[in-house]
Amino acid sequence: MALLWQQFLASFSFESYFPLLAEVGVILTLITALAAWNYIKEYKFWYYILTLIYLISTVVVILTTDWFFFLFAWEMVTLTTTFLLAWSSWKLVKQYFVIQFTGSSILLFAALAANALGYTEIAAIDSVLLQFVLIIGMATKSGIFIFHFWLPPIHSEAPSPVSAILSGWVVKLGYIFLLKIIPIESGNTMLYLLGIAMVVYGGWQAVRSADLKIMLAYSTVSQLGFIALAIGTGGELAFLGAVLFIIAHGFAKTTLFITSGILQREYGSRVVYDFKGAIFKRPLTSLAVIISFLSLAGLVFSAGYNAKYLISSAQLPGLLTKVVFFGFALISAIYSLRILYWIFIVDEDYSNFADKLKKALNSYQIYSTDILAILFGTLGVLIVAFWPEMPGDMLEYLVDYDFNIIAGVRDSIIYILLAVYLIHNNAGFKVKVRDHLSLERYLRSALDFIFSMSRKNVKFDTDKIFETVFYNTIFNTSKKIHDFFYQDLTIQLLWIPVFLSILLLWQQIYSYF
């Protein structure tokens, strides 16, 4: 027993930026735990027990270098988050579990292959094929492009604190793992391309949706794209950028999901247009939203700006890079600024503003833990924004780094102007209010899309296709195999003399072949 414990402790590695990431993970979990106090009504005890197990497991996932403990802890993360989803609906649990389990089995296989190929510890892996398999497994678990399809429906339907955990930290574990296994010198081209696709696709979907939580979920996809892109680029600067991005986005997304929970509760709606004048009614909440969204948008003096700047400066210099990154930043800016736009609109009568403020403040008293959580989150965002080198020695490289504030201010003004213009006209986006996003509908629309490419004007019963693909084929095939072997008792018993004679004549048979 002692052996296992020692092996467990010895497997921890406290090198480079991973302890910092683990710390951030712990802080984020604590923030969500704070926010959950009022949100979770039933079985509160179990919720916190699960959160505790989750917390320990994430630390192990980030710090361990042993494959076994890594997989073990990661499965613990999966299990605990799966159970946390049960506070909203059983359906989500089922979907999430199937997807995560599929990813796990691919990952398990990849881990065993890595073990067999001599990578006994988790470290940079040179074999491109192995990288590929690991990325596929990771993609399923962390929602890299193509496999991201489960992420928006589940993250948007989960209860807000759980969404904060999932979106804020769980999906990032995969990227932290990629930071470990992708060699820092070369990067990975596939990951780079996937990252670009994610940024564009996620951003576009976020722009199109008006539901706050769905928008946040898609923006997670988009922002994760930046991390994938950075890791795919390779180089010290890009990796540092990725780390900073993970931290910044973690704080911002956690805060935003918690605020979305608060807003949803106060306004009884999740649609962005309903939050008119929130800045006056809910100043503190709105402030947190503003700061976090500015960070997501990557405007100057924000956490996101620092990270994005590092990533973009790690790219090959040239006009194309600049244009591409400009486009990326603009997409983020549009969906981020749109909600700020609605928050600042005032169309109510504020004659007795003082009374309303008093009422609002009273409600803050009730939800004081929420406000505390938001404050901590916002504080995190601000710290990364103004003192990116502060978290410790790990990022000391950044102390001397010039973030080129002037260019930042210039770019930010351009973004804001362009974005406000586009938003104000509201043209070309076709913003949709989707109140419900489910995985089935999502897959069905994907299937529709595929079939519409091949055969025009043929309406498929997608329900049936779904059933057929996932269940009926398997069922019927196995039924056929079953019926073939189970003919009747005579044939079943006949196997006995057959087998007996095969064994008795085995020497002749063996020598014959």
Partner: protein
């Protein structure tokens, strides 16, 4: 070392079985007292053996013998307890204790007969695992067959008697083949003691070796339910009452695995199997059997049958990994034997509880089962997750070691089967979990009808005991899932006693 307590492990349950009909004649209320007395003497006995020989169990030198009637081994029957049989007896006794407590809550009618047969199973399983004599092993195997065959038909239902008939057809053939094999061995070597046979078996002509090995292998494959002979297994698991199914899958199949290890490694010798080129054939058959079990499970429309098919899958996997004859293989295999014993028995026990109000075991009747009793259903789900191989549970640890063993031996087909098993298990278990949470609206009258459709067994449930045992199984899975290294020493030591045949022979024949 001569030790009287190991014979008590057999004759105490035997005495309990003999006394119960007599008690029934005098006062049926005393019956449970005697049942609990019998099982607690058994536990006390085993515990005292553990306490006294703790050091020897730790360093692997445990070797207890008993000469029945005082006759030296080649002339009389001897009982042997080494680390391997000790480990198996300990876990089998623990599992049987759980099931007997469960059956106190479960069995309504004909409780007396149930306990008679049940204690015969306890005595016979201990006897089969302890004996060092081939013919004595045959007698105990037949005892197991008779008792379990009668228990399968315990509910006296139509499918129950069909299942029992099918079970007996297969197992009586296997029994007579074992008889034939034992006598063939006797005619060629002039002895029945396992150690003596093991000593002289290698000197035989290879044709006769193959003859004897083929007969024993066929019989044991029938008993275990590996590929060409798997047909009796799901039927009998499906049709028997819950505690009986738990015994069948949790205990009996593991005893046959033990006997298989004993016969192949100790008596016949693995070198002989390799020399006869049988090992590759057996591994392939076992893996194919595992594959078929999982494929069959995909189409099962009946939860107990489904669990039976998945048992085929797991037993095939264990069989294959043991046949690799590596230390890692044994480690994974025996760990999975333990894990599977508790998981499957727990699942059947939970099934027995969950299906008490449903009309049948069919998939459509599984609807809403989870909502009716959530805590038990959650325990059920945890056990299912362990079957799939989710990490904090024991099923993951054992599957991991099996996977490592297959990869170490470069048997990629085996590794594929392990992963395939887990993936298909996700598909076929999730169906049932989802169905269990579907809401079903039943009026009061419907419920009454359901209850009256069942035999009276289900009305007489003592729910608390039944629930408690389900939780106990789940707790075992979770505790050993975190602390599977607790089993490290017993496992290593029993592997040593499998590998070190010379020591066994020397100690049996010398002392």
């Amino acid at each position: 070392m001569m030790e009287t307590r190991i014979i008590l492990l057999i004759i105490v349950p035997l005495g309990t079985a003999f006394i119960i009909p007599f008690i029934d004649l005098i006062n049926a209320k005393l019956r449970r007292f005697f049942v609990l007395l019998g099982i607690s003497i058994q536990i006390f006995n085993l515990t005292s053996i553990v306490v006294q020989y703790f050091d020897q169990i730790r360093d692997g030198s445990l070797f207890l013998q008993y000469h029945l009637g005082g006759w030296q081994p080649p002339f009389g029957i001897n009982l042997v307890m080494d680390n391997l049989s000790f480990l198996f007896i300990a876990i089998v006794t623990l599992s049987l204790l759980f099931i007997i407590i469960y059956s106190i809550g479960y069995v309504g009618h004909h409780e007396g007969k149930f306990y008679v047969l049940y204690f015969i199973i306890i005595a016979a399983s201990n006897g089969a695992m302890l004996t060092g004599d081939l013919f004595n092993m045959y007698v105990f195997i037949e005892l197991l067959t008779i008792a379990s065959g009668a228990l399968i038909a315990f509910q006296r239902s139509h499918p129950g008697s069909e299942a029992a008939i099918k079970y007996l057809f297969y197992n009586i053939i296997a029994g007579s083949l074992i008889f034939f094999g034992v006598l063939l061995t006797y005619f060629n070597l002039g002895t029945l003691t396992m150690a003596d046979v093991a000593n002289n078996f290698a000197a035989l002509e290879s044709g006769i070796q193959l003859f004897i090995t083929a007969i024993f292998l066929t019989a044991l494959l029938i008993k275990m339910g590996v590929f060409p002979f798997l047909f009796w297994l799901p039927k009998s698991y499906d049709s028997s009452p819950a505690p009986v199914t738990a015994v069948l899958s949790g205990v009996l199949s593991k005893i046959y695995l033990y006997l298989f290890i004993r016969l192949i490694w100790t008596v016949i010798g693995f070198e002989t199997i390799v020399a006869l080129n049988l090992n590759i054939l057996l591994i392939d058959i076992a893996l194919f059997s595992s594959f078929l079990g999982h494929v069959f499970a995909l189409q099962a429309n009946n939860i107990k049958r489904l669990l039976g098919y998945s048992s085929i899958g797991h037993i095939g996997m264990i069989f294959a990994v043991i046949m690799l004859n590596t230390e890692a293989g044994f480690y994974g295999g025996i760990l999975h034997i333990i894990a599977h014993m508790f998981m499957k028995a727990g699942l059947f026990v939970a099934c027995g509880y969950l299906l008490q109000y449903t009309v049948s075991n069919h998939y459509r009747d599984f609807k809403g089962v989870g909502l009716r009793d959530k805590p038990v259903f959650i325990a059920f789900i945890i056990l299912l997750l362990s079957m799939i191989g989710m990490p904090p549970l024991l099923g993951f640890a054992s599957k991991w070691f099996i996977l490592m063993a297959f990869l170490e031996a470069q048997s990629y087909f085996g590794a594929f089967i392990v992963i395939f098993g887990s993936l298909t298990a996700v598909i076929y278990y999730l169906r049932y979990i989802a169905k269990g949470f579907e809401e079903v609206r039943l009026s009061e009258d419907d419920l009454k009808m359901e209850v009256f459709n069942q035999p009276l067994l289900s009305v007489l449930y003592r729910e608390k005991i039944v629930t408690f045992i389900t939780y106990a199984y789940t707790a075992v899975i979770i505790i050993f899932g975190f602390g599977f290294r607790f089993l490290n020493i017993p496992l290593r030591m029993s592997i040593e006693s499998i590998m070190n045949v010379e020591r066994y022979i020397e100690l049996v024949l010398g002392g």
